[in-house]
């Protein structure tokens, strides 16, 4: 059911992907890869792509939190620099978290990472008064902290508690992830890496640990790994009832 809306949406760009695939066919595979994915630095992100992550909860290991640690290391939040020393645990930022859930009927226990779902119809963006919460053309939802006034309305609106507010002054931030007091932040889908043709740090870490529970890729490209996985095995949205068409999907829930 969820996939239906999703696919309907994809069909818009279907034509382009097909054309690209057709064009790529004639060329050597390596070159093909670079052409499809590499976007020159001076070119804007386009809506021909929609970045997504698929999380296979069956593969996600209990007790593992490599993805969380990787995100911290990449983006400089959490205990890796103890800059949020004054904030209590409820106040500290949390871009991605590990959650363990038990099915109320079957008692089946699963664990999974939870972060911003990069909704296609993000309520956080709808409510933001200044437009600081925004969705890039390629589906990544970001906070433009330059215009965020710290009203926290987006946090009220997000169904996944994906956002955090910075409750104190920070120091020694990462170059790639400026963060500071009084603004709201959330998982950026490692946009700085994505723009450089990279993979989000969490995904990279999960793979590095050989859990392979996360797939990153272009949801609009039927040939991408993530699309193929979804097509083959399916995947669900959290709170699909809200109709947000999330960019992060879960399998096995």
């Amino acid at each position: 059911m969820t996939n239906k809306t999703y696919n309907a949406d994809l069909s818009r760009r279907h034509f382009f992907s097909k054309a690209a695939a057709a064009a790529g066919m004639a060329i050597a595979p390596g070159v093909f890869l670079r052409q499809v994915h590499a976007r020159p630095a001076e070119q804007a992100a386009t809506s021909e792509k929609r970045w997504g992550i698929l999380i296979d909860t069956d593969k996600c290991a209990k007790g593992c939190d490599s993805c969380v640690t990787a995100c911290m290391n990449e983006n400089g939040w959490g205990e890796i620099n103890n800059s949020e020393e004054h904030s209590n645990p409820h106040q500290k930022a949390q871009w991605i978290r590990k959650v363990t859930v038990k099915d109320k009927q079957t008692g089946h226990v699963q664990s999974l990472p939870l972060m911003c779902q990069h909704c296609e119809n993000p309520p956080c963006v709808d409510v933001c008064p200044t437009g600081a919460s925004m969705k890039r053309a390629d589906g990544i939802v970001l906070v433009d902290k330059h215009t965020c006034i710290g009203c926290r309305y987006c946090m009220m609106a997000c169904p996944y508690k994906a956002r955090s507010f910075i409750h104190e002054d920070l120091e020694d931030q990462k170059v790639v992830a400026p963060r500071g007091k009084g603004t709201v932040e959330s998982c950026t889908m490692c946009v700085h890496r994505v723009d450089e043709d990279g993979t989000p740090a969490c995904v990279e870490a999960c793979n590095a640990d050989n859990h392979n529970a996360m797939y990153f890729g272009d949801l609009k490209d039927p040939n991408s790994e993530i699309s193929r996985q979804l097509k083959q095995y399916g995947g669900e949205q959290l709170r699909a009832d809200l109709g947000l068409n999330t960019g992060v999907r879960y399998r096995g829930l």
């Binding site: 670079r34 630095a41 992100a45 920070l170 170059v175 400026p178 990279e204 793979n207 790994e225």
Partner: protein
């Protein structure tokens, strides 16, 4: 002259042969703020990540270590940006979020776009 003037630290290297900085120095003195603002919107909203007018690049190039190899932070008068900003009483909040010193990695932040050694290296690995 006799008038007190800011002592602006020299940049680490030249961005361009003609004018040193990424644009003529005259122009930079007057207009860097607009360019930075423009650039930040481009980067954040469009995903355009050229290095010209990138704040990270400014810092990389301009914030240079002193004799002891220490970097001044924006709170100190010796920081490249502060030299002028304190002189002209212009406060900016950029560095409440942004690093005010170069990070000790050159992770896709060396200047020349075309030669970025990381380009392509991180193509979808495990997938």
């Amino acid at each position: 002259g006799d008038a007190p003037a800011p002592e602006i630290p020299k940049a680490k290297e030249k961005a361009t042969e003609e004018y040193g900085c990424v644009a003529p120095v005259e122009y930079m003195r007057k207009n860097h703020m607009d360019e930075l603002m423009h650039k930040r919107d481009d980067t954040l909203r469009e995903g355009i990540r050229t290095d010209k007018f990138s704040l990270a690049e400014c810092i990389n190039c301009h914030v240079t270590p002193d004799e002891d190899g220490q970097f001044a932070s924006f709170g100190e008068d010796e920081h490249f940006c502060s030299t002028c900003h304190n002189y002209a009483s212009v406060s900016v909040d950029c560095f409440s979020c942004h690093r005010d010193t170069p990070e000790d990695t050159d992770y896709r932040h060396s200047f020349n776009v075309g030669n970025n050694p990381h380009h392509g290296k991180m193509a979808l690995k495990g997938n």
